[in-house]
């Protein structure tokens, strides 16, 4: 079979080989239920708590502040819905941005339906908001600010540190949540330093297994469980712990933490080389959002004059995997709200954008060869 080039690491990532080894071992040996009293149970419990320490130290949190979940979506849902439920007596105002992931956007719409007032902060041409916008939107009855750390479609990084630190200077009840599903693993995160109260993370975006994630919950908060029916996770999330998944996730985190800045530099290098090759090609394009304040692994490109959907099929038939906007299913072609927020409805970029996302295992040569395939496809489509 022809070589397959995977440029969709923002959708999900392949598992790192040592993650697979770790999980295989765990599936063979650590099958005990962490709630069981016997030695197999105790073994699992020990491994779980060791993993929790690794997750905690990766963001400078305390292990008790880590709640294991099934992934980013659950973490976001829990953070938003349970904060609203807990704080409704203090206020019913929530601040968010126009380019949140659906896992944040939809629970917030749910709150709106339940009578909460929502302020949606628009983004600028870079796909960012400013701390000033948050300051202006803040009201005495604001209970939650939820801002995506780095956007999944265009990669723009939000001023999380500035917002968090500003909010901590106030004597205000507001809770600060950030969806760090895309940012975790390339950005240096320190929840204490950055004033973050709730932070959502997913394993499968950093070469770990699917179906695992965590929510960091600041110790001063107590969020009730969404899943009930057991005392796991200090009563914050019922259900038998997914030990093999958690151990695989732990391994993925360990690798990222060891490599730290190297990961960022490596992905940035792939992005830079891709763009350099684009400049050398005949493709007319514009980058959506900013290159200065963005995640190293996400690049959103408006390829002028060709329908992204057709281009994606051309690339797929040439064994290159990319995305248009965020993942979607059967015939569902709603335009990307993120691109609409950035450019306005009906802008050509909304239908002509491809997202290239870089990651583990990808080489410079592959990235360069993709531009050549892309150039051919663009030329073919323009001729038609």
């Amino acid at each position: 079979m022809k070589e397959f080039i995977y440029l969709d690491h923002a959708a999900t990532t392949p598992m790192h080989p040592s993650v697979i080894d770790k999980m295989t071992e765990a599936m063979q040996n650590a099958y005990g239920n962490a709630s069981s009293v016997h030695q197999l149970g105790r073994r699992s419990k020990g491994l779980l708590e060791e993993a929790r320490q690794v997750f905690a130290s990766s963001i400078n949190a305390h292990p008790t502040e880590i709640v294991m979940t099934s992934g980013g979506t659950e973490s976001d849902n829990m953070a938003i819905l349970k904060t609203a439920e807990t704080c409704a007596a203090q206020g019913k105002h929530v601040i968010t941005t126009s380019i949140e992931h659906p896992a944040v956007k939809e629970p917030i719409s749910e709150l709106e339906a339940r009578g909460f007032e929502i302020t949606v902060l628009p983004v600028n041409q870079e796909g960012r908001i400013s701390v000033q916008q948050v300051i202006e939107a803040l009201r005495p009855d604001t209970i939650l600010v939820s801002v995506i750390y780095g956007n999944n479609e265009i990669g723009s990084l939000m001023p999380i540190t500035e917002i968090g630190q500003y909010l901590k200077t106030l004597d205000h009840q507001v809770i600060f949540h950030t969806d760090a599903v895309q940012a975790y693993g390339t950005e240096v995160i320190d929840v204490k330093e950055q004033g973050i109260d709730l932070l959502s993370v997913s394993s499968h975006k950093i070469n770990g297994p699917k179906g695992v994630g965590f929510l960091y919950v600041n110790r001063k908060l107590s969020l009730p469980a969404m899943m009930t029916g057991g005392e796991q996770e200090s009563r914050r999330r019922a259900g038998t712990e997914n030990i093999p998944g958690i151990l695989g996730f732990q391994e993925a985190v360990k690798i990222r933490m060891q490599e730290k800045n190297n990961v960022r530099a490596a992905y940035q290098d792939l992005k830079d080389n891709f763009l350099k090759e684009m400049d050398n090609s005949s493709i007319e394009y514009a980058v959506n959002g900013s290159l200065d304040h963005s995640l190293p692994h996400i690049l959103s490109v408006h390829i002028k004059g060709v329908q992204a959907e057709k281009l994606l099929i051309h690339l797929d038939l040439a064994h290159v995997a990319v995305s248009t906007g965020s993942a979607c299913s059967a015939g569902n072609v709603d335009p990307s709200p993120v691109l609409e927020a950035l450019h306005g409805q009906g802008h050509p970029a909304v239908a002509e954008t491809l997202r290239f996302s870089f990651g583990y295992g990808l080489t410079r040569e592959q990235v360069v060869s993709v531009v050549l395939i892309l150039e051919k496809a663009v030329a073919f489509l323009k001729e038609k």
């Binding site: 057709k310 015939g331 038609k384």
Partner: protein, 362 residues
């Protein structure tokens, strides 16, 4: 690929013949219900199962806008005018073999193939002939009559040489997920739903009188659009006439919003000697003389009848004269011409006549 057995087997056969096959699911209509369930999503799952089984890539492409503009708007407009449209004919002409064909070409395809029961024969000079499917019970050339030579040049119908039962057998043997799936019935966007209910969502129903030719009121109708010429069911008139024969719809008076009814299957008002049709096109390359004889169908699955066609090339209209008077000609349906096995073209029925008299069918 629709997620049905016919297109599944079409893909399988072509793959086996060595073609580089790409499956495309067309989403033409959004029927998401109150529970968020959409038949398209369910059908797409079957496309995924079949495509993975036979080892071809597959994609879902949305043609909802094109379908709405070119097929559904036409469909409503026709009903509004008291006619009985054929959306499948229009869907083939404007969507499957135009919008979709163009899309496939832009993906680098050389042909599009569908699971229609029809055959294409190509001469050495490239001329394509649209022939009836071998399975006469399933032959779908009636719905393909508006295709042009240019369209046919890029089309394949691998099932045309087969019986439906053979198609099912092939699907079973290949263990395709759709092997035993029920055939879809009715108009695709209405599906199993109640037709009256569906139409009511889009067009206001204007109830009126059911009258005889002599003007005697026989009852109430629910809206002229719900009735077709020659229809017997649903009139609710028992006896009350000059005989005990059943009642039939024999005409419509749009201006007075009256449904004209008459007694007896062979009511004289139901018989036409000739009709006028528009949007007349030919699938063939050669020009016909202005007057010629051939056979024709004026509804799907009907036996051919002998006709003489008088063409007017300028405005693409024609007068079609029946060898024997024809019963229940329906404005809005297609009149489709055949020469032996070949479907040579057709048009859309506008008016029916009995000798010199215009039959009041719309």
């Amino acid at each position: 690929m629709s997620g049905g057995v016919d297109s599944s087997v079409t893909a399988l056969l072509l793959k086996k013949q060595g073609y580089d096959v790409v499956g495309v699911f067309m989403k033409n209509w959004d029927d998401t219900d109150e529970n968020g369930v959409c038949t398209a999503t369910e059908d797409y799952k079957d496309v995924a199962l079949v495509a993975n089984k036979i080892g071809i890539p597959y994609y879902s492409i949305n043609f909802e806008k094109e379908y709405w503009d070119k097929v559904f708007s036409y469909f409503l407009e026709e009903y509004k005018n008291g006619r009985t449209p054929n959306p499948d004919v229009m869907c083939n002409k404007e969507i499957k073999f135009k919008a979709f064909l163009d899309y496939a070409l832009s993906l680098g395809a050389e042909y599009v193939a569908t699971g229609h029961y029809a055959r294409i024969q190509r001469d050495t000079d490239g001329t394509a002939h649209l022939l009836r499917g071998i399975d006469s019970n399933k032959d779908q050339t009636y719905f393909l009559n508006q295709l042009s030579q240019e369209q046919l040049a890029k089309v394949m119908f691998p099932l045309g040489e087969m019986d439906k039962s053979e198609v099912r057998k092939i699907a079973e043997e290949a263990d395709l997920a759709t092997a035993r799936k029920k055939d879809s019935t009715g108009i695709c966007f209405i599906g199993e739903k109640d037709f009256k209910q569906f139409l009511m969502n889009y067009l206001p129903a204007q109830p009126g009188s059911m009258v005889t030719e002599e003007g005697e009121v026989m009852g109430q109708h629910e809206g002229l659009m719900y009735y077709t010429i020659g229809q017997r069911k649903g009139l609710g008139i028992g006896g009350n006439g000059t005989s005990n024969e059943p009642w039939f719809v024999i005409g419509k008076n749009l201006e007075r919003n009256e449904l004209i009814v008459g007694q007896g299957f062979t009511h004289p008002h139901l018989y036409a000697t000739h009709l006028n049709a528009s949007q007349f096109t030919f699938t063939t390359r050669v020009d016909r003389p202005e007057t010629f004889k051939c056979t024709a169908k004026f509804r799907y699955r009907q036996q051919d009848v002998g006709v003489t066609v008088q063409l007017n090339r300028e405005d693409k209209t024609a007068t079609v004269i029946f060898d024997e008077p024809a019963r229940a000609i329906t404005p809005g349906q297609a009149i489709v011409l055949y020469e032996g096995e070949e479907c040579i073209g057709g048009g859309i029925i506008d008016q029916a006549y009995q000798a010199e008299e215009l039959l009041q069918y719309v």
